[in-house]
């Protein structure tokens, strides 16, 4: 079992931080009521700033809820196409058996955007022992830890086992799609495996989306066979 003490410390900090807004709130209310009592004495009721703070808080909440649904455009066009093709075969019920029946998509995408996640512990040590890789692979089965997967991807790439590095880079990307390093290893492995077209096309799409300079450098390396 790992060391519990640091985790307890961390939890204490977490709880303290979580409670802070309440303390602040209580103190504010207390102060305001004292001030309010003073003001009341002078027959003046206006407390505009207090009210205002509350209003803005609720609007932020609302806009957060409206996080937009991401719909895959290619699937959408496909859905459209299906509807048309289905109409075309509607009158030929008997011929159905031999015709590819196309169903209207039952597909909706309701997926919340995942939260950013902070990593707390990391205990991978550079190693050359073969069993170590197997251990990490085994551990990954349980932990699905992004760092484990990335470690394997990098190590296999370095060792020239590109099939495996491609696989582990992909696993890494499965867990964290924003992990650029894994995307690059994925692409580089593809190139090494002779799938140059596929690799560079993925990279080009990524560049189109992000304008990433390092991706551009990688692409030019690939194109000049400098990998």
């Amino acid at each position: 079992m790992y060391d519990i003490k640091p985790l307890e410390e961390q939890w204490k900090k977490y709880r303290a931080r979580k409670r802070r807004p309440w303390y602040l709130f209580l103190i504010t209310v207390l102060l305001l009521s004292i001030v309010g009592a003073g003001v009341y004495e002078k027959k003046n009721f206006k407390l505009p700033s207090f009210k205002f703070g509350f209003l803005s808080k609720t609007t932020i909440r609302k806009s957060k809820k409206n996080i937009d649904i991401i719909v895959n455009p290619a699937l959408l066009t496909l859905a459209g196409k299906n509807v048309v093709e289905k109409k075309a075969i509607v009158n030929e019920e008997n011929a159905l058996v031999d015709l590819p029946i196309l169903d209207v998509m039952q597909h909706t995408t309701i997926d919340t955007v995942p939260k950013e996640r902070n990593k707390i512990h990391l205990d991978i040590i550079e190693t050359s022992a073969v069993t170590a890789y197997r251990d990490v692979e085994k551990r990954f089965l349980i932990s699905h830890d992004v760092d484990d997967a990335l470690f394997l991807a990098k190590s296999y790439y370095r060792k020239g086992n590109y099939k495996k590095s491609e696989y582990w880079a992909y696993e890494t990307n499965k867990i964290n799609e924003n992990n650029v390093e894994s995307l690059f290893i994925f692409i580089k492995s593809k190139i090494k495996l002779g799938k140059k077209e596929e690799g560079s096309s993925i990279l080009r799409q990524y560049i189109k989306k992000t304008e990433s300079e390092s991706a551009k450098t990688l692409l030019s390396d690939i194109e000049n066979n400098k990998l």
Binding site: M1, I4, L7, E8, Q10, W11, K13, Y14, R15, R17, I70, N72, A74, L75, L78, N82, L96, V97, P100, I101, L102, D103, M105, Q106, H107, T108, T109, I110, D111, T112, V113, P114, K115, R117, N118, K119, I120, H121, L141, I142, S143, H144, K163, Y167, Y170, N173, K174, I175, E177, F186, K195, E198, I202, Q205, Y206, K209
Partner: protein, 270 residues
Amino acid sequence: MTSRYVAAKNVFIDSIDIDDYIELNSSMTAYQQLQHSMDKPLKMILLFGRPGTGKSILLNRIHEKLKHQKEIYYFDTPSPTEKEFFYKLFKVLTQKELPNNTEVNFTALVEFCKKLRGKREIIILLDEAQMYDADMMEKIRLLSDTRAVKFVVSLHKTEDEDLIAKAHFQSRIWEVIELKNASRDDQTAYVHKKLLKKNLFEIANSIKVKDMKLIHQVTEGNYRECNKLMFTIFEICEYYDKNEPGKLNYTHIPKKIIEMAALKLGHLHV
């Protein structure tokens, strides 16, 4: 004496064990949908969802249930090379071993399938299909065009990955079944039933509705994240049980421990 939490912890090791399958509302619906689609004369069915939403276990379940009624095969992770994949496929289709030092002739395989049409109806469940490249998928499609083989293709989606790398899946999908993260009710049933299956009644009872609310919130209803969190919770319980039993309440898992586990896994931050 080993702590009772060791058994509880082990319940949540991530695995695809068909004996551990649990009927949940969402998985039942997906199961029925999939079965219904498989009965239609479709050639390709796409099963997709985020990682950890239970695609693999669903395919295993379907395979287990139908294997005595239908000719159905489950291909787990993609074969490392095309050669090996077609070798596997050859065996399934011809029910023969490939002679030594020979390779599968793809055109001949397609011809062979055409002859099977109307005689055999073969269903192949392809898991982790995001690992197949465009070339392979094209060949798989050609095989399905013979209408002797039906493919259920399982593939996981993440926000933009399928736009970047998986363009080839998008042009020829005919029916889509999506698995989503679990609702709170489903996740609660999942956690409880998993523990009850192993006769851990007391521990199951120590997880209350309020706890499940927090667990569902931090894992966003993802089964794999849920497994990881539960594993960590019981790991912490195990530690306290052995070393500082005063910090443990056996009738109710302290919220502190759930939060500690979530902190450790990075679901919560300081």
